[in-house]
């Protein structure tokens, strides 16, 4: 049985289609990422899978339980860390966790042990007695991740887990997530619009744009589509027979020359640079500068959508604002 199974899921808000016919499966224990710009439909997908929203059509199931019909069973199996803070700031950190544990019907001893354990995991034991309103953004996030784990869910949803956090805290949270996925059996589904986050954390990624999946696979597979690393060589003077020689090498995928710069794509570029230098030397060509660029998921996104994720976000927020205006107008 799949941990998560989604089949032709569609969600419409009036005339706006937030999730547009997506299907995917996630295996137990996998760390799966939904990557895409804000407004791509990631959160809507999570809200449907966590029973907070009903789909317009299509199905979703968590360990065989249908998300729109067996809500109670689905809820028992999942933990959710929402995009926006969902803590009671007038309670202490520990009280938030205890509230959660009791809502999930945990017994007294189990509750005490587990709350202690997760507080240690996210290093909040010392601050547990303080009101959450005194916490920093990073501490709140860590508390929420801890809370998502208290009842030992089989599937953990993390919606933009590091949104708005500084680089150091983000790195910290990445480590928790990795550790968690490695040490417990929990299946994690994570959404992000940070390319490097998805790249670093996820075993498998689906790139989402305008409610649709545009590509999916492991980060490596996705990047391989681009043909590997790009090595640029800046040459001085005539290139002689070098280009002809390089063209004959089978590990070079593509070769282009713009002015004095040779751009080559290949796998594992860093290991090939010495060879390239030697070849240039042998052909009496002087290399003045070498540049290696690993393709990022940003390039993959660009490749599939023709836009960078930032462009897409700008136009997306424009559209959201227009939508909000429309909605407000209707209400009055």
């Amino acid at each position: 049985m799949h941990a998560i199974e989604v089949d032709r899921l569609i969600k419409k808000f009036n005339s706006f289609t937030a999730v547009d016919d997506i299907s995917f499966t996630v295996e137990a224990g996998e760390l799966f990422g939904l990557l895409g710009p804000n407004g791509a439909g990631k959160t809507t997908t999570i809200n449907i899978l966590s029973t907070l929203l009903d789909a317009t059509s299509g199905h979703g199931s968590i360990f065989g339980f249908d998300v729109s019909h067996d809500k109670h069973d689905v809820r028992k199996n999942i933990g959710v860390v929402f995009q926006e803070v969902a803590l009671d700031v007038k309670l202490t950190g520990k009280e938030n966790l205890e509230f959660h544990a009791m809502m999930y019907g945990m017994g007294k001893n189990e509750r005490r042990d587990k709350v202690k354990e997760v507080l240690e995991l996210v290093e909040l034991t010392e601050k547990a007695g303080m009101l959450v309103e005194t916490y920093s953004g990073g501490m709140k996030r860590r508390l929420e991740i801890a809370r998502g784990l208290v009842h030992k869910p089989n599937v953990l949803f993390l919606d933009e887990p590091t949104l708005g956090l500084d680089a150091q805290t983000r790195r910290h949270i990445w480590d928790y997530i990795k550790k968690l996925n490695r040490e417990s059996e929990v299946t994690i589904i994570l959404t992000s619009h940070y390319m490097e986050e998805a790249d670093y954390l996820c075993e498998r990624i689906a790139i989402m744009d305008n409610g649709k999946f545009v590509a999916s696979g492991s980060p490596e597979q996705l990047k391989d589509v681009l043909g590997g690393d790009v090595v640029s060589l800046e040459l001085e003077g005539n290139d002689g027979n070098l280009v002809a020689h390089l063209n004959s090498l089978d590990w070079i995928e593509t070769l282009t020359k713009h002015g004095g710069v040779l751009s080559l794509t290949m796998e594992r570029g860093e290991r090939r640079i010495p060879e390239l230098i030697t070849a240039a030397h042998n052909h009496d060509v002087k290399v003045t500068c070498v540049h290696l660029r690993k393709p990022s998921l940003e390039d993959v996104f660009l490749h599939y959508t023709g836009r960078t994720i930032r462009d897409q976000e700008a136009s997306q927020s424009e559209r959201n604002r227009a939508m909000m205006r429309g909605r407000m107008g209707k209400r009055r």
Binding site: N47, L52, K76, V80, A86, D88, F99, M103, G105
Partner: protein
Amino acid sequence: MIIQGAAIYVLWLRELKRFSRAKSRVVGALAMPLFFLAFLGLGFRKMMIPGVSEGVGYVSFLVPGILGMSLLFSSTFGGLSVLWDKEFGFLKEIMVAPVSRVSIVLGRLAGGVTTALVQGISILGLSFLMGFKINTIVALPLALVFMALISISFLGLGLIFASKMKDMQGFNIVFNFVIFPLFFLSGALYPLDNFPVWLRYISYIDPLTYGVDGLRAVLIGVSSFSVLFDLVMMIGISLMMIFWGAYFFEKSKAV
């Protein structure tokens, strides 16, 4: 659906903790009724109001009305507080838990009734200091029953509004066009007999009318209807409000 005791208990506990920590909320909730009581009581003390017998006096007549007002305000706000949870995201945490929606409503009710009763009892206690007297001590438990029923009714009403509203924007509308008219129509400040007949009929569909009348009956022995009638009406109304509140809450979305 199932009733989950632990979830109801923890929702109740949360409400109590939040209440006890919000000192300004407690003070504010007590101050307004006491100001009403003090200023209206002193201002109208010497006035002869038709329907208020000389033996009773306006202050005594007013105390049950102000109790009703306090319960009306705090309970409707209690029901509407779902909107605060929605605004601060905590509602999602509640809604995604494997807890039946009925249990969630019951937990909120338990918390709301408890905090409303704490306020009501405080006001009653303070009014004793101001010279309010009751006929028999037996009146107190009966008054508590009425207070609880008033509270349940308006928690249900608040919950209905909260389920229908998207955010706190409509708050003022509810306050001005629902809560205040309910307060004035209930006869909390004056005998309903002074209303023109058509207005009196409108006041009969106000749940608070029976609540205040019942409180007056048990506390000072003056009322328009019999205690039993008030009690039956209040039980019926509170059940109906809770049913509707739970129904609309069940249908509402957290996101």
